[in-house]
Amino acid sequence: MPLDMTEGKKIAPGAKTLGRVFLSLILWMGTFAIAARVLRHHPTNLWTRVGCVLMAVLGFLSWPASVAKLIRMLGEFERRIQLVALAIAFFVDVLFIFTVNMLQLAGFIDWISIQTILLVMFCTWFAAMLGTSWYYR
């Protein structure tokens, strides 16, 4: 008989929390798409511009909150994997942004969009999760 299955329940994060992460990602992308679409037309109204910025930023906030909640739900070992992956991804991203900045300053490359940087950040995070899971397999 298992001594304590509480930890076991924590390993498999609830579908509800996973769904919340997915919805918050949709919310972030949705608010960003709407705000970017409006701002692309260069609205002159100050409050329209402020509203767009606020909508996009507030739309983003629910996503890290839901990811943090998901990580807190995991067991201690899985939580360690996620935190190590985040730490690795952070330093790889800093290296990437710093290198891009230096290459731009040196005139080797043109301007890089924030969307490209975000995409690279997501990819490094995913790769770091895979790599960390492989190391602790």
């Binding site: 001594l3 930890e7 076991g8 067991g75 201690e76 360690r80 899971s133």
Partner: protein, 66 residues
């Protein structure tokens, strides 16, 4: 940190998955502890000790480098 997990598990004839189920973690977690890649926190160490009917420091031992 050194541990006697593999030996104790072999004595009980438990697989890593079985021990993991008993203490509520994955097989990967047990394997990482056995190979020294991961030192468990106190609650998990206590659950493992309880599963084997030992004290925590009968199973886990600090090394000079710790």
């Amino acid at each position: 940190m050194k541990n006697r997990l593999r030996v104790l598990r072999a004595e009980q004839n438990w697989s890593q998955a079985e021990l993991g189920m008993r203490v509520g973690v994955t097989r990967q977690a047990i394997n990482s502890i056995e190979t020294g890649k991961y030192d468990p926190g106190l609650p998990l160490a206590m659950k493992i000790a309880r599963a084997f009917g030992h004290k925590v420091d009968d199973i886990f031992e600090l090394e000079e480098s710790d």
